[in-house]
């Protein structure tokens, strides 16, 4: 990426400090996930009963849990699970929702059948759907991704379907058809490029809500296995200590909220970046 | 009746305002139709919205100038004060009749509501007046149409409804912003005829905005030609078409296809209008004017009365309008 390219993507963040903050939090999470073993001040798995439930102090900034494990180290280690679940769910939801939505809109007969099925799935609350699926498939990280992803696949499909129906009748799509364009051309050159920015926003929301969904599953013991640290697991293990050791809930809870929130901020900024009409906002010609 | 003096509408920060309407002045007498003609983006709609006190907020604002309705400056009044002070007697109709009507309410109710606001009556008297208004705009079958929904009417009929709603406040001044642009010629001629007849009958003044020189010639008593936020020529309709004195007016007339049938090429005005606020000195038309001379680029052209009631904003106006 050249300097100009970098500036291109940075501009919406510079124009809006709150988006820059979101970007910072996200980058922080990403770095934490990659460099967890080096960043964590202590071994996140090391048990030391002598320092059980110590409040935050100079040695243990986030305090320790009921086994004397360092909360900060565990929170850093958990970023890995958060990113894994988030990207898995986004990949699944978009990977299935986009093709189903686009094809349904382009081929009305197929679409009629597929969209009815999506409607049925949408009738269930997404957490209930996820729970039901986990009960059938058994708890595991992959199954958690599938279970949460299914709920967002339906909303993604709906959004893509609606947008494609509209794009399909745009004059420039008609122009392209009149010149002999086939379905692959229309999808690749006209429909997908115009879906990118709404999908980017959708992806950031899905990523954010996947964090909450994963946390809920973890909390119920149906997500990541308890021995792997995740913010949801941390909440689940320590919720009985809420009055004695509130920091055990406060810090992982904050991490969940902060990543979800910052993802939404970044998603908004990227959408504006990709919309030519917003270029004036960033002081470019046009 | 209505006197607009030096109206200036600006966008952008107060420290660096961009004038989209720059010092527009015109007078409108009782029963008179003034045509305001110009290309897209030249500031016609901004002028009419400013006169009506309907500028969108936030955004454009009146930076200078006065709008006197029977001697009272209405720019100093809030919209509700205008009605209280009896100066609510200006009404406006817009280009797209469908977007100005509520699609899920019956025509009769929508007209009656306008009657209720202005006459402070409701129920059967309001509905009776609504029916009267429909008769006034020569709607076929008015009693039946009261219970119709907008989508059941044709474009021309919808525009008649908009006119009926505008007439509900018994306006002294009607501002019509391209009310026939979306209509077919066969329907346009009916709506224009109706507007003209109403002005005569109700002694109502009308500011009629359009980009169509043909419509102007058919309808207006006097014409103001607008370019890049300024009125560059004002004259009686016969004088303007018979002997245009501004180079832009002349150019506009020359490039109309119906004046050239048979010619292999149409005369054109080269280039495009300048973006608002980009011309800092001299004449705004200089970049496209075929008769441009050195002084045009530096000194703002004077507003000169070349003959009685015929004003031109040009340093070197056309002498005779040229051969046609």
């Amino acid at each position: 990426m050249s300097r100009d390219d970098a500036m291109f993507w940075l501009k919406p963040f510079i124009a809006r400090p709150i988006a820059l903050m979101g970007l910072g939090i996200l980058l922080g999470t990403l770095l934490a996930a990659i460099f967890a073993p080096w960043l964590a001040p202590y071994d996140p798995f090391a048990i030391d009963p002598s320092i059980r439930l110590t409040p935050p102090n100079a040695l243990h900034w986030f305090g320790t849990d009921q086994f004397g494990r360092d909360t900060l180290s565990r929170a850093i280690q958990s970023a890995r699970m958060a990113l894994l679940i988030g990207s898995g769910v986004v990949a699944f939801a978009l990977g299935t929702g986009v093709p189903i939505g686009v094809l349904s809109a382009l081929f009305p007969r197929l679409g009629h059948v597929l969209m009815r099925m999506v409607d049925v799935l949408m009738a269930f609350p997404s957490l209930l759907l996820a729970l039901g699926l986990i009960v059938i498939l058994g708890p595991s990280v992959v199954n958690a991704i599938l279970a949460i992803g299914l709920g967002y696949m339906t909303t993604t499909t709906r959004i893509v379907y609606g947008l494609t129906l509209r794009l399909r009748t745009e004059t420039y799509v008609e122009a392209s058809r009149s010149m002999g364009a086939g379905t692959a051309w229309l999808v690749g050159k006209h429909i997908l490029p115009n879906l990118v920015s709404p999908l980017l926003v959708q992806a950031s929301f899905v990523f954010a809500f996947a964090q909450l969904g994963a946390a809920s599953l973890d909390f119920l013991g149906l997500g990541a296995p308890p021995e792997i640290p995740s913010w949801g697991n941390m909440l689940a293990e320590s919720h009985t200590f809420i009055t004695r050791a509130p920091w055990l809930l406060f810090f992982p809870g904050m991490m969940i909220v902060a990543t979800a929130f910052s993802l939404n901020l970044v998603g908004d900024a990227l959408r504006d970046r990709l919309d030519p009409r917003f270029r004036q906002l960033f002081g470019e010609k046009g | 009746m209505l006197s607009v003096q030096d109206l200036t509408v600006s966008l952008g920060p107060a420290t660096a305002p961009v004038d989209v309407v720059a010092g527009v002045s015109f007078e409108l007498a009782k029963g008179e139709i003034l045509g305001l003609v110009g290309e897209s983006g030249c500031g016609k709609s901004m002028t009419s919205l400013a006169v009506m006190g309907l500028l969108p907020q936030p955004g454009p604002r009146i930076r200078a100038g006065r709008v006197l309705l029977e001697g009272c400056d209405v720019t100093q009044l809030q919209p509700w004060q205008r009605v209280e002070a009896g100066h609510g007697r200006m009404a406006m109709i817009f280009q797209e009749p469908m977007t100005s009507l509520n699609p899920v309410r019956r025509i009769g109710d929508q007209i009656a509501e306008a009657v209720r606001v202005h006459d402070r009556v409701s129920g059967p008297p309001a509905m009776a007046r609504a029916r009267e208004l429909l008769e006034l705009v020569r709607m076929p079958d008015p009693a039946m149409q009261l219970s119709a929904y907008p989508h059941q009417l044709s474009g021309g009929q919808r525009q008649r409804i908009m006119i009926a709603i505008a007439l509900a406040c018994r306006p002294q001044v009607l501002i019509a912003d391209e009310p026939t642009t979306a209509l077919d010629v066969t329907i346009q001629v009916q709506v224009l005829g109706l507007l003209r007849e109403l002005c005569n009958r109700l002694d109502m003044a009308m500011l009629f905005i359009t980009h169509d020189m043909g419509v102007i010639a058919q309808l207006a008593d006097r014409v103001s030609v607008m370019y890049a936020g300024r009125i560059v020529e004002t004259a009686g309709v016969e004088a303007l078409f018979g002997r245009p004195r501004h180079h832009y007016t002349r150019g506009l007339m020359d490039c109309m296809p119906s004046r050239n049938s048979g010619a292999r090429r149409l005369p054109t005005i080269a280039g495009q209008p300048p973006a608002p606020g980009t011309v800092r000195a001299g004449c705004v038309f200089a970049s496209r004017c075929a008769a441009v001379r050195e002084p045009c680029r530096t000194a703002a052209p004077p507003r000169a009365e070349v003959s009685r009631g015929h004003e031109v904003l040009c340093t070197f106006p056309l002498d005779d309008g040229g051969p046609r």
């Binding site: 745009e170 004059t171 420039y172 008609e174 122009a175 392209s176 058809r177 009149s178 010149m179 002999g180 364009a181 086939g182 051309w185 050159k189 006209h190 490029p193 115009n194 990118v196 030519p276 009409r277 270029r279 010609k285 046009g286 | 290309e39 897209s40 044709s154 474009g155 021309g156 009929q157 077919d184 010629v185 066969t186 329907i187 001629v189 224009l192 005829g193 003209r196 980009h211 169509d212 020189m213 043909g214 419509v215 102007i216 010639a217 058919q218 309808l219 309709v237 016969e238 506009l252 007339m253 490039c255 109309m256 296809p257 119906s258 004046r259 049938s261 090429r265 149409l266 054109t268 495009q272």
Partner: protein, 316 residues
Amino acid sequence: MNGNAVLDIRDLKVSFKVRRSGRKYQVRAVDGVSLSLAEGEVLGIVGESGCGKTTVGRSIVGLVRPDSGTIGFKGRDMTGAGLRDMRLNIRMVFQDPYASLNPRRAIGDSVAEAGDINGFFTSRAERSAAIAAALTAVGLDPSFAARYPYELSGGQRQRAGIARTILPSPSIVIADEPVSALDVSVQAQVLNLMMDLREQLGLSMLFISHDLGVIGQISNRVAVMYMGRIVEQAATRTVLDDPRHPYTRSLVAAIPKPDPSKRILGAIETGEPPSLFKRPSGCAYAPRCPLASQRCLVEVPELRSVGDRALACHNV
């Protein structure tokens, strides 16, 4: 019809199924249109909005499937066919310059689209040279290739839309109200451009418009449409100077003439526009026609030739 016709349409019928207030209707948008376009000719199609002009154009470029009728291109029948070489040979300019260019594609990519779809270019260099040539031909600087639609004015967009239809150069251009959305001064520039291109590239053109002034300027022959049918067809000057069909007469009379000494307001009666949902059984124009007779209410007038023109009317 003509032996040397590049485009020959016979008895084209197109209908749409629409729902209104819960009921299903079959709307006959085009109801038996026959047209032929000679080599190098500009044929104007004029009529009120909704009379089926656009639908005729869309049928020719294969965007709607006709119910019946044939569309012949240089003697070959191509009804409903998606044949590649015909798609390159017949191209369409659209009315709305703001909607007809993909906001996310650079102008150059839009201009080269027909070539790209049909594998016309053999190298990148050839492609960029062709784009530059097409842009130059429509009076745009080649640097416009890298710009995006939002950076262009309406007139420039329409020029780009025209550049798209001449790369590679077609035989026929269907222009659907190409100047209706433009201002008069820009309209004249674009009309001049289309006349120049027609001459340079030897195009035949179907020019759809509701503006008789524009039609009079550019076309050799005019077909007047009313409710899906052609009611009068002849050389442009014949139609404009001496309209015969009652509908054409009212259309010509209603043009707002830019001459304040010839005022028509209040002097002519044009009647209410028709509804496609309630098609009269005889002549569709009968409810508005000053000449309507008993026969008009029951019998549909066929298009027949009268002297140097074709007319569909019982009483003229």
